[in-house]
């Protein structure tokens, strides 16, 4: 079992390292085989070892990474039900995306770099999932950040792409700082950074401010990676990366790492009601914010990016409501249908002749039936069409909020429903704009590789059917996921009336959104983005705000330090000292003007000085 577990991690790492070091020397398809094979191998290892995770889970310590004083950080794995679910999802989705990428990147001259980074990403992501201590988790945490940086800026010759990568790295790193601070604090409190020990001893902190602060720090850390308010501006820009990257990193896995972190440390986080409320609030606010932004986007991938942000907001809401299984449920279903959506979007972009803008699409159904059906499958899941997985997972979260009963949670529920309506609206807007009417662009289609279609099928099936994982009692399910995660308390026990009411609301908002989109976008109308539309398109102008509030002062501080202090004060001081010395020297030089007479005056003054001094002393004494 240990071997299998190690293989989960080791295979993608080895694949990445081999590709990074020797990829360019290997004949063309070999790096792709290595990359894809290693991830599929990892998935198989994951499947093979999943039984070990049942119950308490399985622990494995490989070696000591850092040990100093009373601080120890092992490279150790904790394979518990939560990790197992996540690992399965990550490796599974990653395998499919690798296959897709093999087709997508076929003609790219630099594909070894791509696959090396992608493999390393999978390794880093799995490290987050499996780490048994926070430092190792942090390694993965930063590792995914780096891979995301490298992959967003993969087509580096365009400066914007590289800049988007840098933005993603830096913004997520702001969140990482808070995580790091939490890590330091936790070690100072507990003398260990083992996740299990911390969770086990978290109760000691119950009711203190410390735990609230810790939870808030963790929340901020999670916000960075998961693109939640206020650290969300990087995600739309990150769409500059190749589509498989968007699918894997910025939809299915990395952005959900924040949710995973909060779930992983849930016993700690849940001790603070205040922090829980904050998490829920951040979640729902982001969900609403992103949904509104998605309404106005032009680029297909940006729509999806905002929808991702929005859906992750739901997951945060779930965590904030205290329902780990709801969060994980939505995380998994979302991973399936969002990966599907991104990859079909990639196919659509190819079909539209490498055109991103949905205003230049339309009538895409004529270009490929298969893509139409696959994209629609994803969209209905996202929009929360009844009986799709998205419906169940989203509904579970909203129901949980509703079930809490108090005014605050009712409010959250209300906002959640509003977001759901918006989601449905922009999903169908997308559908109408992409498939409705006639093709509005000029480019010729570029048929997607077969490898870009087949991996989508399982995802579509999973997306539509994953609702079965945690089917509520109402529909004859047994909430399997909650059981597996040992979170029976997450299972809702609502009266039938309430359940029906909630389901009806959900269906109602879905239909409402559809109808609205149908009315508005059945026929394409070009609009100049202005006013509110422009505001939403720019993501509520947060970029400009941050540029003004953070980036500009930062640059100004840099200029101040470098020009003001460094060259002005310090160099100036030094130059001043030097100049003073030299000017004194010059002054002394003028004394020695070559005239003997003047030299003799020097002698005279010296003599007067000495004689005068002696006479003075002689007289005084």
């Amino acid at each position: 079992m240990a071997t299998l577990l190690v293989l989960i991690l080791l295979l993608p790492l080895a694949g990445g390292v081999v590709n990074a070091c020797f990829g360019n020397r290997l004949p063309r398809p070999v790096p792709v085989f290595i990359a894809t094979g290693s991830v599929i191998g990892s998935f198989l290892a994951c499947v093979g070892s999943v039984t070990a995770a049942a119950g308490d889970g399985y622990r494995l310590t490989l070696f000591t990474w850092l040990q100093s004083g009373n601080f120890t950080a092992d490279v150790g794995l904790l394979f518990d039900p939560l990790a197992a679910v996540m690992a399965l999802m990550v490796t599974g989705v990653a395998s499919l995306i690798h296959l897709y990428a093999a087709g997508y990147m076929e003609e790219d001259p630099d594909q070894t770099r791509f696959f090396a980074l992608l493999n390393l990403f999978v390794f880093a992501m799995l490290t987050i999932v499996l780490a048994d201590n926070l430092l190792l988790l942090f390694l993965g945490w930063e590792g995914v950040g780096f891979c995301s940086y490298g992959l967003i800026g993969f087509w580096y010759s365009k400066k914007e792409n590289a800049d988007a990568g840098r933005k993603a790295f830096i913004v997520t790193r702001i969140g990482d700082l808070f995580f790091a601070a939490a890590l330091l604090w936790l070690f100072a409190l507990f003398g260990t950074i083992g996740i299990e020990v911390i969770n086990g001893r978290a109760g000691e902190l119950a009711g203190t401010t410390t735990v609230t602060l810790l939870a808030l720090l963790l929340l901020l850390g999670a916000c960075g990676k998961s693109a939640q308010l206020p650290l969300m501006t990087w995600l739309p820009d990150a769409m500059a990366g190749p589509t498989p990257v968007s699918a894997l990193i910025h939809a299915a896995t990395m952005v959900t790492a924040g949710v995973y972190l909060l779930c992983r440390l849930f016993p700690l986080v849940s001790l603070s009601p205040l922090a829980m409320a904050a998490i829920a609030l951040v979640g729902v606010a982001t969900a609403l914010y992103a949904a509104t932004c998605a309404l106005a986007q032009h680029e297909i991938k940006r729509v999806l990016a905002y929808s991702t942000m929005s859906q992750v907001g739901y997951m945060f809401l779930a965590v904030g409501l205290g329902s780990v299984s709801a969060a994980m449920f939505h995380l998994i279903t979302h991973a399936f249908f969002k990966a599907l959506l991104f990859m079909t979007a990639g196919c659509l972009i190819n079909l539209a002749g490498h055109e991103n803008d949905i205003r230049r699409m339309g009538g895409m159904r004529q270009r490929s039936q298969a893509v139409f059906w696959l994209f629609s499958a994803g969209l209905v899941c996202l929009a929360g069409a009844p009986l799709t997985s998205g419906f169940f997972s989203k509904d579970l979260i909203l129901a949980t909020a509703f079930a809490k009963g108090d005014l605050f949670h009712q409010g959250l529920y209300g906002l959640g429903v509003l977001t759901a309506a918006l989601t449905s609206f922009y999903c169908f807007r997308l559908a109408y704009l992409v498939f409705g009417g006639d093709f509005r662009g000029e480019e010729l289609p570029h048929a997607p590789h077969a490898l870009m279609l087949w991996p989508l099928l399982p995802l579509a099936v999973l997306g539509l059917g994953a609702g079965l994982l945690n089917l509520p009692h109402l529909l004859g399910g047994h909430s399997w996921l909650s059981g597996w995660l040992a979170r029976e308390e997450d299972i809702l026990h609502l009266s039938l009336d309430t359940e029906y009411l909630l389901v009806a609301t959900a269906v109602g908002v879905f239909v409402l959104g559809w109808l609205a989109a149908h009315l508005r976008y059945r026929r394409f109308r070009e609009h100049e983005p202005r006013g509110l539309r422009q505001f939403l398109l720019q993501g509520w102008n947060f970029d400009a705000l941050f540029a003004r509030v953070l980036v500009r002062p930062f640059r100004a501080a840099g200029r101040f330090c470098s020009h003001g202090i460094e060259t002005g004060v310090i160099e100036g001081l030094l130059a001043g000292c030097a100049a003073t010395c030299v000017s004194w020297g010059q002054r002394l030089r003028t004394l020695a003007d070559g005239r003997v007479n003047h030299y003799l005056y020097g002698l005279l003054w010296g003599m007067l000085l000495i004689v005068g001094w002696f006479l003075l002393r002689a007289v005084v004494s």
Binding site: C581, W584, L588, V596, L600, M607, I610, F614, A618, V619
Partner: protein, 472 residues
């Protein structure tokens, strides 16, 4: 004058007679190299006599002493003169010096220096100093085809004459106050709390002025850069090393004998401070290596005053050690300038030095050793010299002088490093290569090796110096 006294004065007599003999011989045989060699051999002989022939009496007519200290000084100055003569072998050909006269005057100067350091009475001191000065008047103006040589000679002459008058007046006043020429007695007379004390002090004041001129303390230093610049490079080397050193060596027992007289120490303290600081500042903007070395010699005299002020054994030891190391380094630096001289002129300005590093890598490396030693950078001997000095200053409670010395040596780094960098700056113009003679190079190499060796293991020199300290 007894035979024993003559025997005890043998080194000085050798030098003086040798000088005269060469002057005579030079009238018939116009071979420069020959007379240089003869002169160097005589100086060496004198040095060996001083070192190995035990004098039969230590007090000679109450004028001179043949103590270990005096013998050490004689040896060292004679060797310096011998080295200077060897150093000049190419230089005298280049500027067609009268070989006999040159060597003869050098030996004469050596005799003067050796008498000066050996003096036990004011008469002896005066005589030694004048012998030295008279020889230097001529040597400085030796390049008669050169305006600058004449100018330097004139400047030195006027200052020297005035200083002689000051010295003589000072001696006269002290004699009037104490009634003796004996250094020890005169110094003791100063302690008396008598009515003529002001007279004695005034005499000391004038004496200090004269000494200040000879070792070029600020504000009596103004002649130094001009004279060093105009004098022939080997003579400049002698001026900066032995000529100053011998005066200082004569001054050391004098100050010790006053037993740390408060007034003298205080005025010396003041002179040391302004010499170190103003000398360093004045050296900073120099763009002529000989002027820079002149100011450097000014600053180093300031350092040496620190040791003088301490008035302790440790101080004297530090002073002698420093003096020896300083002489090696300064001699070397002037030696390099000597070897770089061309038929038309000496290479002095930094502009002309540019790019010579590639042309003469060895000599420039040696120059680096000398200048870095002067700057007191380990592992060169200059470091231990400074170390001993500061240490002695600390021990005697003059920490402030040590601190000022440190400030001055920080400034000094700039002006020592500047020519070095200039030397190694790449230069497009094609320069004719002037070969240096092997004797000169060997000598310079030897000086550099000495600086490095004493920098790594100064113990032998330290113990030698502690043996020859002046006994009161």
């Amino acid at each position: 004058m007894t035979l024993a006294a003559l025997q005890s004065l043998l080194p000085q007599i050798l030098l003086a007679l040798g000088s005269t003999a060469i002057l005579l011989g030079g009238a018939w045989v116009r071979n420069r190299q020959l007379w240089l060699v003869v002169g160097a051999v005589i100086a060496l002989l004198a040095a060996m006599t001083a070192a190995f022939v035990e004098p039969s009496q230590t007090d000679i007519l109450g004028l001179y002493g043949a103590t270990a200290y005096a013998r050490f000084c004689t040896v060292f100055w004679s060797l310096t003169v011998a080295a200077t003569l060897v150093m000049s072998s190419r230089y005298v050909e280049l500027y067609r010096f009268g070989g006999g006269e040159y060597a003869s005057l050098m030996l004469f100067a050596a005799a003067g220096m050796s008498l000066l350091s050996a003096a036990t009475s004011f008469v002896g001191l005066f005589l030694g100093l004048e012998v030295l000065t008279l020889a230097l008047y001529v040597l400085i103006a030796f390049r008669y085809a050169d305006n600058r040589g004449a100018e330097a000679g004139m400047k030195y002459l006027i200052f020297g004459a005035v200083a002689t008058a000051f010295l003589a007046f000072g001696i006269g006043l002290i004699y009037t106050a104490t009634g003796t020429f004996d250094l020890q007695a005169a110094a003791a007379g100063l302690q008396l709390d008598s009515g003529i004390r002001p007279l004695g002090l005034a005499g000391w004041a004038l004496l200090l002025v004269a000494v200040g001129f000879k070792i070029s303390l600020v504000p009596f230093h103004l002649w130094t850069p001009d004279v060093y610049q105009g004098a022939p490079a080997p003579v400049g080397g002698l001026l900066a090393t032995a000529a100053k050193g011998s005066v200082l060596a004569a001054f050391l027992p004098l100050v010790l004998m006053t037993g740390g007289n408060g007034e003298i120490v205080r005025i010396l303290w003041f002179l040391a401070v302004i010499t170190m600081l103003l000398g360093s500042l004045a050296a900073l903007p120099q763009t002529n290596i000989k002027r820079m070395l002149a100011y450097s010699s000014v600053v180093h005299m300031g350092y040496l005053l620190i040791a003088l002020i301490t008035g302790s054994d440790a101080g004297s030891q530090a002073l002698l050690f420093y003096l020896v190391i300083y002489c090696f380094a300064t001699f070397g630096a002037f030696g390099i300038v000597t070897t770089l001289a061309t038929t038309t002129n000496e290479i002095q300005d930094y502009d002309e030095l540019r790019g010579l590093g590639a042309l003469y890598p060895r000599r420039c490396a040696l120059l680096a050793v000398f200048l870095l030693s002067l700057a007191g950078i380990p592992p060169l001997a200059g470091f231990f010299a400074k170390f001993g000095l500061f240490q002695a200053a600390f021990r005697a409670g003059y920490a402030e002088l040590a601190v000022i010395g440190v400030v001055a040596s920080i400034l000094s780094v700039y002006y020592y490093l500047r020519p070095l960098i200039v030397l190694f700056t790449p230069e497009e113009r094609v320069l004719p290569r002037e070969a240096a003679g092997y004797p000169e190079l060997t000598l310079l190499f030897f000086a550099a090796v000495v600086l490095i060796l004493f920098g790594l293991y100064p113990a032998p020199l330290l113990s030698l110096v502690s043996v020859v300290l002046p006994v009161l």
